[in-house]
């Protein structure tokens, strides 16, 4: 049994690899999608901000459909709110510069893949003395989540397939505690079908031989130390803090908050908002799905009350979410 991340999940389905694997090999999708794990409280704050006349929300595309307690940003937009889909943090800053009369809030979510870009634009905004650009900090860290998953002790995972793009930033050595303390092999792979197959092969070999090492099947891009420049930039702007993961709960040191010298760009501070509690919708098993404890069809809402057209939980919302992938490609 292996643990994979959501972009792997979508790629596995799109490429049809899952239909080719032998029965004894089960791939579970882990907490790898930044949209999946964004708390309802976070969406609620984003929606509240979007409701203000002077505010424009800049966001990655798949966030607009994530439901909060009172609807999504897509619905807010229909009500007249200004919601702009951007492809990068850079585009959000550019939007703020182009529209000085708007208060621009960038929904800064994602793992180590998107965090360096957010850090860079916060530094840039400070240098340019922009007073109409803010971020709603929601970045999360991969390793604390994996450790929390293993410390829970309930998941019978034999090994981890680790995401190439995150690893470019954090490096292979970041996974060493997972392999050494918890005895779980980790293989870093890219997302192309052949890379994934190579990753599966390396993991199966480790499990069969009883080894637990960090192996790098993506060495074109991933080094042992990762990208030190990106790491320094993140550290300059953010510090680790407890974060709420949707349907899992709070995990210590798994999120990132803005340091004091950058607090002027914190949307929560600027607009004086407190995030509310995270409420899991009744019946939703997203928490279990994200932790690999349940597969989507085990959820009573799956395919009935919860579909890509009308999603309840985050795993159905994102096109790379575990439930959406199951629904789309395996239904």
């Amino acid at each position: 049994m292996l643990e994979v991340w959501c972009t792997h999940t979508v790629s596995l389905f799109r490429s049809g690899i899952k239909s080719l694997l032998p029965g004894g090999l089960r791939l579970i999708s882990g907490p790898g999608c930044p949209v999946c794990v964004t708390s309802q409280g976070y969406i609620n704050v984003a929606c509240e901000l979007a409701g203000r006349n002077e505010v424009t929300i800049c966001t990655y595309g798949d966030m607009v459909r994530v439901p909060g307690s009172n609807g999504s940003l897509e619905q807010q937009s229909a009500e007249g709110a200004s919601v702009v889909v951007v492809y990068s943090a850079r585009d959000a800053v550019a939007y703020a510069e182009k529209n000085p009369d708007r208060q621009v809030v960038f929904l800064a979510v994602g793992f180590e893949t998107t965090t360096p870009a957010t850090a860079a634009v916060v530094i840039e905004a400070q240098q340019k003395k922009l007073d109409n650009f803010f971020i709603l900090a929601g970045h999360k860290l991969v390793i604390p989540a994996m450790q929390a998953l293993l410390s829970g002790g309930e998941v019978a995972v034999d090994g981890f397939m680790c995401p190439g793009h995150v690893s470019v930033v954090i490096g292979t050595e970041a996974y060493r505690p997972i392999a050494e303390q918890f005895g779980k092999p980790c293989v870093i792979t890219g997302f192309e079908p052949e890379k994934i197959l190579q990753g599966i092969l390396l993991l199966v070999k480790q499990v069969a031989a009883g080894r637990a090492e960090v192996e790098n099947a993506y060495d074109v891009a991933v080094s042992e130390k990762g990208n030190p420049l990106a790491g320094q930039m993140i550290e300059k702007v953010f510090y680790p803090a407890a974060a709420v993961w949707r349907a899992i709960g709070e995990i210590p040191d798994s999120g990132l908050e803005l340091r004091d010298e950058f607090k002027a760009f914190d949307a929560l501070v600027h607009f004086g908002i407190e995030p509310g509690p995270d409420e899991t919708p009744p019946g939703c098993l997203c928490g279990e799905v994200i932790q690999g404890k349940a597969s989507p069809p085990e959820c009573e809402l799956f395919g009935k009350k919860c579909t890509p057209m009308d999603p309840v939980g985050p795993c159905m919302v994102s096109s790379e979410g575990t439930c959406a992938a199951w629904f789309k490609y395996k239904k």
Partner: protein
């Protein structure tokens, strides 16, 4: 007074409306149907069965690599007639302009309408222009066109004639329109050499129909892409036939340029669900497949035409893709327009 932007009075039916018509629209779109400026266009049409369609066009941004809303509005309606095996003759054109629209942009759009109509061999027979208050920062526009054409003799498009073994052909590289528009969208702008494939397809349809093949179905895979047409087809066949059929597509047979495939990958999109505005999906019996592919390839707009799959009687009601890796997966219609995803 010279106006650089559209104001409410341009749609008020008074002097400014007359000026707009006389100075900007008639000189470029005028023809003997439109010029009398009567309330309706009057024209003769050969005896036969007529075909009529209408379509509303909204696109953000109004101009994108390879086209603009004007070209889209003409080609969209010409193509909806063409894929029904009709010869498009006359189009109507209704433009709703937002106040604040740049006059130069309007001029470019009207120029595109004229150019696309010339390419498609149609005339704008009648039209209307209104102005509304701008939404947000204003300056936008929407266009509605309707079109009328005469059905070709000897073509019998009817999904109830589709049987297992029939072949699915797409007339060229897919996903280019949707990706090109996205590349120009505010907030998403990225550098790419991709351009929209938006083009009038009646010429290509003529070649296909004249190839002697027994064509059973044609549709242009616009919004929701080739995947959307495939799912629609399976549902259509299910409705009109006693026994449902499935579709089996081969991923490595689907024509897609390397740049489109990589752009889609970068944005996390599936090329099968991205919009096209210059392609046709054709269903034909297996024996005639080569004729249709040859007819496509003889036309500049169909030079990458290829067989991409076939109907089967296995597992009725499914669209399956045999992937490059040799696996199988289902093809489904997207929720809405697919949005670029994170990571």
């Amino acid at each position: 007074m010279k106006h650089n932007k559209i104001v409410m009075a341009h749609g008020g039916g008074g002097e400014l409306t007359r000026q707009l018509l006389a100075e900007r629209i008639i000189p470029r779109l005028g023809n003997e149907l439109l010029n009398p400026l009567m309330d309706s266009a009057v024209f003769d049409i050969e005896p036969g069965r007529l075909c009529m369609t209408t379509d509303a066009f909204v696109v953000d941004p109004l101009e994108f690599p390879g086209g603009d809303i004007g070209r889209l509005a003409v080609c969209g309606t010409v193509n909806d007639l063409a894929v029904m095996a009709a010869d498009p003759k006359v189009l109507s054109l209704a433009m709703v302009l937002e106040e604040g629209l740049e006059m130069e942009l309007l001029d470019r759009v009207i120029g595109s309408i004229a150019e696309a109509a010339r390419q498609g061999g149609v005339v704008i027979g009648t039209g209307d222009t209104k102005v509304v208050e701008g939404r947000g920062s204003g300056g936008g526009m929407t266009i509605t066109t309707a079109g009328i054409g005469r059905l070709k003799d000897g073509v019998n498009l009817d999904p109830s004639r589709i049987v297992a073994g029939d072949v699915i052909i797409v007339t060229g590289n897919i996903a280019e329109h949707g990706l090109a528009v996205m590349s120009a969208r505010d907030g998403l702008a990225f550098e790419t050499k991709l351009i929209s494939d938006v083009a009038p397809l009646n010429g290509l349809v003529n070649r296909i129909c004249q190839s002697g093949a027994d064509i059973k179905f044609m549709r242009d895979p616009t919004r929701s892409g080739v995947a959307g047409v495939m799912v629609d087809l399976v549902n259509l066949v299910d409705l009109v036939e006693d026994v449902g059929l499935s579709i089996e597509l081969e991923e490595d047979a689907v024509p897609v340029s390397a740049i489109a495939r990589h752009t889609a990958e970068l944005l996390g999109l599936d090329v099968m669900t991205v919009a096209n505005e210059g392609k046709i999906v054709v269903v034909v019996n297996q024996a005639d497949a080569d004729k249709v592919v040859a007819a496509c390839r003889a036309d500049e707009l169909g030079r990458n035409g290829a067989v991409i799959g076939r109907f089967t009687d296995a597992q009725p009601g499914l669209v399956e893709l045999i992937t490059v890796a040799g696996g199988r997966r289902l093809v489904q219609r997207p929720y809405g327009e697919d949005l670029p995803r994170i990571c």
